[in-house]
């Protein structure tokens, strides 16, 4: 991340704090996380303090201060998935990847995240990997789905 890159990226946004979360979305889309060095540029752009930017970005679940793995695995923890056995799927996924939510595997292949509901409750339990939805996931599916992504490298 360089200052020139940041200037380019921030150009399309106004100089008001109301653009802050949308800027953070954009920065994360670009780098996969919010590089801590970017905070100063962002703060300057929206005329606020670095403290304020840090406070905002750590408040929301969406933003990460560390790079994620190659594949982002998100397991739904919503109520509908829960009553359909979602907790077992989540436990199995933790075992399969060997990480806790928010963590990345040591080979940097997978980052595990949870979400409170994807809104496809009728076909749960749901797992989403890099934006691809897997529905009615069973414990066995967890292994085969992850094996598939491991093969892709």
């Amino acid at each position: 991340m360089t200052g020139v890159e940041m200037d380019d990226l921030l150009r399309e946004f106004g100089r008001d704090q109301k653009h802050l979360t949308q800027i953070l979305h954009k920065v994360q889309a670009e780098y996969g996380y919010i590089p801590p060095q970017a905070i100063r540029w962002i703060a300057r752009h929206v005329n606020t303090t670095e403290n304020e930017v840090y406070g905002v970005l750590t408040f929301y679940n969406a933003f990460r201060l560390r790079p994620g793995g190659k594949h982002l695995v998100t397991v739904c923890q919503g109520t509908s998935c829960h009553v359909r056995g979602g907790a077992r799927i989540f436990d199995e996924m933790k075992k399969e990847l060997g990480v806790e939510p928010g963590e990345t595997t040591s080979d940097r292949m997978f980052t595990l995240e949870t979400v409170n509901c994807f809104g496809c409750c009728a076909i749960g339990p749901t797992v989403v990997i890099n934006g691809t939805y897997f529905s009615q996931v069973s414990v066995e599916d967890v292994h085969s789905i992850i094996a598939e992504y491991r093969k892709r490298k």
Binding site: S80, N116, C117, G119, C121, A122, Y133
Partner: protein
């Protein structure tokens, strides 16, 4: 660019002239559930097969948002007959074209069969899931490609806006909404007309309106489906509302976990701008209004209106004391009116067809229809739109087809983490705002999670408490600390480490959190626990006294075959706050 209301009618006539309705049209449901179940492959298969047979010119292929019957995705409807095929596979496509499209015959193996009676229903409108619904807001989902504003115009879209702008004063619009009896669909059920009036009557040189699309309740997805399937209906409702209230700027705050909704509503907003339906001098009138779309960032508390406004302002989404209410001091201190997606979507309908018509639907105090997400252990999971006042039994058994896998009904959870449970004794409850509250739950935004005997109510209460304590914004102590304490007690109980006094502790904590929390999140957080304690106290007692989980959900309390159950005399850990 439209500069006169009559151009809307001319537009519709031109569409009909330039692209006449084909003899046959295949409509593919392509909402989030559809895509997750393979609808994109179905669309591709139809595209290729129609191409191969040189039918692209004569057979229409329409891709729409959610049709509601999520359980049977991917599904298609073939018009004009309305033939319905569910759980379709790409390899079924050639047969559908060969038989149904070309020879007008029904492909029997693909026809929906009622799992209870075995009866087959070829037509979509005859299927029991659809037959008892009243789809005022969702029926157009079957005809509208959300990428095409033309489809919305064909369905008489933006006619209500023209009527409001040119035939009605702002006061008349408010009176019409008030007379219709529309109440806020976000959960509180506050009369929409009154809310608009409060905001309009505040003297200020600027006012805002907001569409709350931060649909955070787990198990609830009607708002994102409306936005993804028929985004213009929400935008039209907002423009009418802005005209009535006197706002020049509006925001749609939509949750990031619904990417399809974000995408479709942005496309629709840009189209509306292009055609002069948003921006300066809308339809040639003297009214100016524009909409900004703000994508959320994964914080449940943003569904609470004061937090949502903090979030739009680019700050941490912490709630604040009310009053002042948003109508008095909202976004950046200006009067602001917030309504939920479904509320906005009702507005064009009321203006178009009139308050008198609308107020005949529903019960004496709750008018119109309500969309519910019918999910959990239900046979026909999906999105259902029903008139207010319908019996819970009709929703669950007639529309939903009863409980999955031949299990027994235990309760239905309504209102999400802020709501409660309705056990079997409430099956004949007429569903409206006031009745559900009287029965000890809340309608919420329309989540309905059906539970059977394999659901452990203590575990579910723990699940909700885990959720709210994680999502508490942390500003006020009762919510931040109290929900954590309740959660810890519930965790102990589900591990077989509960004490008899825990039940009184939960009730005591719950009462304090309810009374002392700053915003709705905290005030309602104890509800799932208190509700399960009221209706399913024996399950708590079973966990505490007998170290047993009847539903066999709590891992620590299940004895595997050949193993002894864990000892019951295990010493409970001391509570931290004792």
């Amino acid at each position: 660019m439209l500069t006169h209301p009559s151009q809307l009618t001319a537009w519709k006539a031109r569409i009909l002239e330039e692209s006449p309705v084909p003899k046959k049209t295949v409509v593919v449901s392509n909402g989030t559930c559809g895509r997750a179940s393979g609808s994109l492959a179905i669309i591709e298969a139809f595209g290729q097969e129609l191409e191969r047979r040189d039918l692209r010119e004569t057979v229409g292929l329409e891709v729409t948002g959610c049709h509601g019957f999520c359980e049977l995705e991917p599904n298609i409807v073939i018009y004009p007959e309305g033939i319905y095929y569910g759980r379709l596979k790409p390899e079924d496509v050639p047969m559908v074209i060969e038989k149904t499209i070309l020879k007008n015959k029904v492909v029997d193996p693909l026809v929906y069969a009622d799992p209870k009676t075995g009866r087959r229903y070829a037509l979509q409108k005859d299927i029991p899931f659809y037959r008892k619904q009243m789809r005022l807001l969702t029926e157009d989902n079957l005809r509208i490609d959300p990428n095409r504003i033309d489809d919305y115009v064909l369905a008489d879209g933006y006619q209500a806006l023209a009527k409001a702008l040119f035939d009605m004063t702002a006061e008349e619009v408010i009176r019409e909404i008030d007379a219709a009896g529309l109440r806020g669909r976000g959960g509180a059920g506050f009369p929409t007309g009154k809310k608009w009036e409060f905001c309009r009557n505040e003297s200020a040189d600027r006012r805002y309106i907001i569409c709350n699309a931060d649909e955070g309740n787990p198990g609830t997805y009607m708002d994102r489906s409306i936005l993804a399937a028929n985004p213009h209906s929400v935008i039209e409702g907002m423009i009418i509302g802005a005209y009535a209230i006197g706002a020049a700027e509006g925001y749609i705050y939509v949750r990031m976990e619904a990417p399809q909704a974000v995408r479709q509503v942005t496309i629709a907003r840009d189209q509306a701008r292009k055609f002069g339906l948003l921006g300066k001098s809308i339809l040639g009138s003297e009214f100016h209004f524009d909409i900004q779309i703000v994508e959320g960032a994964g914080a449940f508390v943003c569904g609470e209106e004061t937090s949502l406004m903090s979030s739009i302002e680019g700050r941490r989404a912490v709630s604040r004391q009310r009053p002042p209410f948003p109508a008095q001091s909202g976004l950046w201190g200006f009067p602001t009116n917030i309504n939920n997606v479904e509320t906005w979507a009702n507005v064009p309908l009321i203006i178009k067809r009139g308050a008198e018509w609308y107020s005949q639907i529903g019960t004496s105090k709750s008018k119109g229809t309500k969309i519910f997400s019918l999910v959990g252990k239900i046979r026909h999971a999906g999105q259902v739109e029903v008139p207010m006042g319908i019996k819970l039994r009709e929703i669950i058994y007639d529309i939903g087809g009863g409980i999955k896998d031949g299990k027994k009904f235990k309760a239905v959870q309504t209102g999400g983490p802020a709501g409660g449970f309705l056990p079997a004794e409430f099956l004949d409850l007429a569903m409206d705002y006031d009745n559900v509250v009287q029965a000890g739950s809340t309608m919420g935004s329309g989540g309905m999670i059906v539970l059977d005997e394999t659901t452990c109510m203590v575990d579910l209460a723990r699940h909700y408490m885990h959720f709210t304590q994680e999502e508490s914004c942390g500003k006020c102590v009762p919510c931040r600390v109290g929900t954590r304490q309740m959660h810890d007690i519930l965790v102990r109980i589900t591990r077989g480490e509960g004490e008899e006094e825990d039940l009184a502790r939960l009730e005591d904590l719950g009462d304090s959190i309810r009374v002392a929390s700053l915003c709705g999140l905290g005030q309602s957080a104890p509800n799932p626990v208190l509700s399960t304690l009221r209706h399913f106290r024996e399950e708590y007692v079973e966990h505490i006294k007998h170290k047993k989980c009847g539903a066999r959900v709590c891992k620590e309390l299940i004895s595997l075959p050949g193993q002894e159950a864990r000892p019951t005399d295990r010493k409970a850990k001391k509570l931290k706050h004792d």
